[in-house]
């Protein structure tokens, strides 16, 4: 293998024909230094096939070590690095430079308190998630082997099992921006995961939890969540399914 071939986790690409110059604007904020957030601008050479995460890494590793953000898996499965990139919520590791062009603007996701640079306080988000009882409940005695479930029944909630809790959806929701109490699409998706699981027995409790003043009904079908979800979960469709489930069950 060619030792100079850059790969994930390495820094500057070698000079070559296939690099391009980009201008990256990052909304930065250090609570220990800055009174308010400001835009910092960086110019650097990257390859079109680099992920935005690679670009951030390159800035952190070569230009300004204090730039802070969360990341781990680097391929869109851990949910660490949802950011507001060029006006929409995306995972930095799942978006390539070639799809953005030469000017890139990165901000923290909205509606959660910014702790430092691109890092926000995720606790309220996880609190909302926990409020919908996002866990399997079945109090019947456990069978010796698996509980049976037909492939068709399994299929019904397939998409909601994909959620990686990245918060891209909830922080793209215009209702959530103004009303931080709104339980948010991510929590509803995870409620959907269990409500439509034929093996689960806590549907009533979960629906009751969603039937709160700041619950399910606050959704105004704005679809930003669906557009933002990096796992392509049809979130609004699922929210509407949950609304109907709650409606018919109460009726």
């Amino acid at each position: 293998m060619d030792a100079t071939t850059p790969a994930a986790g390495t820094s500057a690409p070698p000079p070559g024909l296939d690099t391009m110059n980009v201008t990256v604007k990052i909304k930065r904020y250090d609570p220990e230094k800055d009174a308010r957030a400001y835009w910092a601008e960086y110019r650097l050479d990257v390859r079109p096939t680099d992920r935005v995460l690679d670009v951030l890494n390159q800035i952190k590793w070569e230009m300004d070590g204090s730039l802070s953000y969360r990341r781990s898996c680097a391929h869109g499965v851990c949910g660490s690095d949802a950011m507001l990139i060029n006006g929409v919520n995306r995972l930095a590791c799942k978006l390539l430079v070639r799809d953005l062009g030469s000017s890139i603007a990165v901000e923290p996701i909205r509606g959660l308190e910014v702790v430092k640079d691109l890092i926000v306080d995720m606790e309220p988000f996880f609190d909302s998630y926990k409020s919908v009882l996002p866990y399997f409940v079945n109090d019947d005695p456990e069978p010796a082997r698996e509980r049976l479930q037909s492939p068709e029944d399994r299929e019904i909630f397939d998409e909601s099992t994909k959620c990686i809790l990245c918060a891209a959806c909830t922080t793209s929701c215009p209702v959530f921006w103004t009303n931080g109490n709104y339980v948010g699409p991510a929590a509803i998706v995870n409620a959907h995961r269990f409500i439509f699981d034929s093996r689960d027995q806590a549907t009533d409790e979960r629906l009751a939890a969603l039937n709160q003043p700041s619950g399910l009904w606050r959704c105004r079908t704005a679809y930003n969540c669906t557009e933002a979800c990096p796992r392509d979960i049809p979130i609004t469709k699922q929210i509407e399914e949950v609304k109907r489930a709650l409606l018919w069950r109460q009726a």
């Binding site: 926990k130 103004t178 709104y182 009533d204 009751a208 003043p213 619950g215 409606l247």
Partner: protein, 139 residues
């Protein structure tokens, strides 16, 4: 605002604890009705006749017809309930400080209450026959 329960037991205890569902349904039903009521209203008052000609006589004349009274009562009731509940949604989303939210709601609901009473009185408390006649006599 009541925060949602975080445990299974707590959720059980709050089962069906909110009127939001009812309001959600109401918004849809009233919306459907309002399509007819509002478009009808606009049709009669702005399309069929020249809105520029509306004056006291026209209004008084209209209000003296029982059919109009009933029609307008429905329109008033549904539009007020639908609109004020819609305003409540907006207030709850945008006015985030609990104290300020409370007072905003008090003011908006009070005004709405007064206006509703005013509207109902306009429709039912007076006889416009004479007023209408008086106006016609003036012409």
């Amino acid at each position: 605002m009541a925060s949602a329960p975080k445990t299974y037991q707590a959720a059980r205890a709050t089962y069906g604890a909110s009127g939001e569902l009812v309001w959600w349904v109401f918004m849809r039903i009233s919306g459907l009705l309002l399509v007819f009521l509002v478009f009808g209203h606009l049709f009669f008052n702005n399309i069929q006749i020249d809105a520029g000609t509306i004056d006291f006589a026209y209004v008084a004349n209209r209000l003296s017809q029982p059919g109009v009274k009933i029609y307008d009562t429905f329109l008033l009731a549904f539009a007020m309930l639908h609109g004020i509940n819609g305003l409540r949604y907006s207030i709850e989303d945008h006015v985030r400080k609990p104290g300020r939210r409370f007072w905003t709601k008090v003011v908006v609901f009070s005004i709405a209450g007064i206006v509703f009473v005013l509207g109902t009185m306009t429709l039912w408390a007076f006889s416009y026959d004479e007023m209408g006649a008086a106006v016609r006599a003036l012409d």
